[in-house]
Structures are given as C-alpha cells and as structure tokens.
Amino acid sequence: MSLQADDVKNIAHLARIAIDENDIPEYAKNLSKILDFVDQLNQADTDGVEPMAHPLDMAQRLRVDEVTEVDQREKFQSISPKVEAGLFLVPKVIE
C-alpha cells in the first residue's frame, strides 16, 4: 500500500493535525512502510474467527445513577489555555 502526498494530507485533515508541507514526503514514505508491514496480516486465515476487541470476556459494569463528582470548576479551569467568567474560550464557531 503506497500512500501519496495527497493521501497523507487527507488523513492528517481527518485527524485534525497540521503537518508542515516539507514533512509530508517523509510521512508518506514511513506510513507506506508501516502499511506494507501490517499487510502481513493477510497471511492469516481468519475465516470464521470472532474478532477480539478486548482481552477479558466481561460484561460492562453499570453503576448506580447518583452524583459522585463534586464541583471543581475553578481547579479544572486553572490549567486551561483560555477561560473567562467560568467558561472555556475557543475561537468563534458561529458568525
């Protein structure tokens, strides 16, 4: 599987990561190598094999629906890049 520069740009967009234009060829080369490497999986005969998502066969535990967290807004916002009046600030989304 060989990825071209445009493929890398498209994947980087899906992952919301800005990649310097100069670094794109190196990423294309290494990602292609990795995909070639994982193509070895095609050697495995997996017909009828149940996919394994998790190592332990366990049911999802449920908890009682009650409040367990206390309000720590100030503490959490003290490490935020930008806050104002108790709100996290991000660039304007709706004009």
């Binding site: 994947i11 899906l14 310097d20 997996t46 394994m52 998502a53 999802q60 660039p91």
Partner: protein, 483 residues
C-alpha cells in the same frame, strides 16, 4: 541504603535505624546527582517528597504502618499526580498540572510511600527506546551511549541507578519488560485489568496495563500488592481479590512445567542473548522445573496486529487533546479547526503523529474491515495460541527482547526495525496475560532479560518462579559502574 531491597528498607524504617526523611534525602541526592547523566526524571518533587517523608515518620512513630510506608518511589509521568506536572513525555502536556491523582498514586499515598518524582518516558508511551520524549532521551546507566528501552525508560534507568527504591511503569506492548531487560532490573506487566487504569493517561485502552519495576521479584510482589485491585473508577478493572503475592514466593518449583516457544528462539535472536537464556534454563532445571517445547505459531503476526490495534485506539484516545480545555494551544487560532490542527501539530511529536495517522487511516471509511477487523481477528488467533500452550504448561519462558540495549540513534530512522524490538513482548498484551522480565546475565557488558509469561491472573506463580531463580543467582543485585 540505596542497595537495599524494599523489605530491608521497610525493616530499617520500622526498627528506626533510619528515618524516612533521611532515606528520602539520600535518594533525592542520588536522583539529582545522576539525573544529569541519565535524564531519567522529568520532574523531581523534592518538597512533596520531604513533606510525605515527615508524615511517614509520624506514622511509623505511631505504629500505623504498611510495608511501603516511608519508602521513596518514582512514578512514570503517565500517572496523574494532583498538583504536579504530568507531561506524559509530551509538549502537548508540558503545562498540564494534573487536577487529581491516578488510583495507583492514591494507593501509594494511602500506603505512606514517598513520591520522589516523575520518570521520563516515550511520548504518550509510544516507543521502545525513550528517544520519543519531548524531554530528551534517557541514557542507559549500563552504557550512556545506549537507550534504556521504552516506553518506561526513565523508570527503568531510575531503578538501575538506584535513584529511587522502586518505580511504576506501564506496558502496552512491552513498555515495562523491554526497558527492564535493557537496564538489568525486574518488571512485571500484570494481567489486563489487574491494576487500575484510572488517571493513567490512555494510549491503547484494550492493551494498557500498569505495573511495578524494581530490583527483584520480592520487591515487585510488595509493590503489586499495593497497586493491584478492583477500582470502580475503571470500567475494565477486574473484580477479583488480590492474593498475597509475597506469601507464595518460596513455593518449590519441583514438577512445575515451563514451555519454551520455538518461535522465540529462531531467526532474529542475538546469539549471546540466546546463550544467556539457555543458561537460565539449566538453572531452572536444577530447581526441579520440567521443560517442554510449545508452539505459538502466530507470533510473527503479533507486531503487525499490534500496529493496527494500538494506533486505532490511540487515534481515538488522543482526540481529547484539542487545545480547548487543557494542554497546548497554538498562538492566535483563526478559527476552531485551525486551533485543533495547529495545537495538535505543534503539541505532538513525530512518532505520536505517525501512529495517530495510521490509526485514522485504518479506521477510515472503506478500510475498517481490511485493517481493524482483520487485526482483531488475528488478535483472537494470537490469544488462542497461548490458551492452547497453557493447557500443557504452567508458565512460558523465553528472551524478553531479541538484543541487548541498542545505541542511541541507531534505529530512529526506521520505525519498523524499532517496532520489531518488541517482537517477544507484544503478543502478551494482545492476549491480556501477565508477563515479567528479570535479569539473567550479561552480553557485551549489557544486561539481558529473561521473560516469564503466565496465564490470566497467575502473577503469584510468575513471581514465585522469578524469586526462586533470584535466590540462586545474583544478576538482579548487580549495579552499573559509576552509580
């Protein structure tokens, strides 16, 4: 004092031969002195350590102690520590002061252990050499030109140079065992779900598992008794009691059956490493162990399966780092998408970016079945290999890594060759079973690790087998020169 085992340190503290403050000061001095050469710590928490040591001394005076009360430890910088920078080795979290403690940290605090600092690591635990840290490579105390292994490279170096009495690590594909092997220390990756993942920054959630790194199996048992146990805050935490690991350490190995997977002794294994493992097998035979050949025929597919499953999970887990509520944010974002893209582009290093991109691709429309589903099916085959083997044997033994510690910079240009240094450790994580590495000899002046693999929740059996070996050998007591 720094050469003493945890049990010896604990006894010295209880007998008031030394106070926790004095012991902590000794380790702090070593940590500061040797950090210049090794770069093993990202943060040394001197004030916190001395405060905790005073409290530990008060507990000891009041007779209210546990085994690890007053003992100075290092924690991998992946565990959230309330009020203390928790960087995960990344520029993304360089400014992140964790607002809460990981469950593992809470447990050590409750036991009265001392936090000396936060150990260096590969960024977001992605790497096998500690060269992917934003804070620079850690140097192996046995050879400062070599890597300590990764991703828990800082923790391994800290223990090897005795810059703490023991340390915590995490293991997603070998990140406790491979650095333990490279640095000549002992480390155990417990069964998936045995140690809480709450507050342990997630990389690949179906593989991640925390565990201890220390001088000996005996020390690991003491650490694991504190770390392990059910945690309601971790939805995949195992609801099983924690056995008293220390109690079964001296059980006889007479008649214990250990499997040797032929796939772990083939092409790619360094000849000197193979010799060390063979010598260890002879040692085990003297202890009454019976050996049998077993086969793990899908071993060669474990690294490819891992490099689909782990990146897929990481691309999802690391989407939380968006520059909005915490972590790195770029300067003057022009809109929301620009903020996401540049904050992440600037905050993540190259290997992390690579894995997020691989995972994004593997999960994207049209490729899911070919990559992710195929890898999950292969994961089942790999896991079934172990199930079959454990029908015939109690434990499995082999090398931890195909070579000893390699030179700094020697594999950085070729991600695949770096990935293959985890060839003997990765399958264990895919299956979710426990495994450990213990020092078993030297090759070219560098330590060689012996890997022991157990069935689900058989940590006691693993620690027992490792301890018996360490009773008749002294590799675990050796220290690098100059420390």
């Amino acid at each position: 004092m720094h050469k003493k085992t945890l049990a010896q340190l604990s006894a010295a503290l209880q007998a008031k031969e030394i106070s926790s403050v004095e012991l902590t000061q000794e380790f702090l001095a070593r940590a500061k002195q040797f950090n210049e050469q090794t770069n093993a710590y990202i943060t040394i928490t001197e004030d916190l350590a001395l405060q905790q040591a005073k409290e530990a001394d008060a507990r000891i005076a009041a007779g209210n102690t546990q085994a690890l009360t007053g003992i100075p430890l290092a924690h991998k910088d992946i565990f959230c520590t309330d009020g203390i920078k928790t960087s995960c080795g990344s520029k993304m979290l360089d400014s992140f002061i964790a607002p809460y403690n990981a469950t593992v940290i809470e447990k050590f605090n409750a036991a009265g252990a001392i936090c000396l600092g936060k150990a260096n690591m590969d960024e977001f635990a992605m790497g096998s050499s500690n060269e992917n840290s934003f804070y620079g490579v850690v140097k192996n105390p046995w050879d400062l030109n070599c890597v300590p292994g990764g991703s828990s490279g800082g923790s391994a170096a800290v223990v090897a140079a005795r810059m703490a009495a023991a340390a915590t690590g995490t293991d997603t594909g070998g990140s406790i065992r491979q650095p333990a092997s490279f640095c000549g220390i002992s480390g155990i990756k417990p069964t998936y779900g045995r140690v809480s993942r709450y507050g342990m920054i997630a990389y690949a959630s179906s593989l991640d598992q925390g565990g201890p790194m220390a001088q000996s199996a005996e020390d690991l048992a003491m650490m694991l008794e504190v770390m392990a146990g059910f945690d309601p805050k971790d939805s995949t935490s195992a609801q099983k009691d924690v056995p008293q690991y220390s109690a079964a350490m001296n059980d006889s190995l007479e008649g214990v059956k250990i499997g040797l997977p032929k796939e772990y002794f083939g092409e790619g294994l360094d000849a000197e490493v193979a010799t060390v493992v063979e010598t260890a097998i002879e040692e085990y035979k003297k202890l009454g162990v019976e050996f049998a050949e077993v086969s793990l025929p899908n071993t060669h597919l474990s690294v490819p399966a891992y490099y689909v499953v782990a990146p897929a999970e990481c691309s999802s887990n690391l989407s939380r780092f968006d520059g909005a509520r915490f972590g790195h944010r770029c300067e003057d974002p022009k809109d929301l998408e620009d903020m996401y893209k540049r904050s992440r582009g600037e905050g993540f290093g190259e290997e992390v970016t690579r894995r997020i991109l691989v995972g994004t691709y593997a999960l994207s429309a049209g490729y899911y079945d070919a990559y992710y589903l195929k890898a999950q099916k292969t994961r089942r085959l790999i896991s079934d290999d172990f199930k079959k083997a454990f029908a015939d044997v109690d434990l499995i033994l082999g090398p931890t890594a195909p070579t000893t510690a390699f030179g700094i910079g020697s594999k950085t240009d070729d991600p695949i060759s770096m990935y293959l240094s985890d060839i003997y450790t990765i399958a264990v994580n895919l299956a979710g079973i426990p495994a450990m590495s213990i020092p078993a000899g030297m090759a070219g002046g560098k330590p060689v690790g012996l890997q022991l693999i157990g069935n689900y929740f058989d940590e006691a059996k693993l620690l027992n087998a490792a301890h018996k070996y360490q009773q008749v050998t002294d590799w675990h007591q050796q220290m690098p020169e100059g420390f």
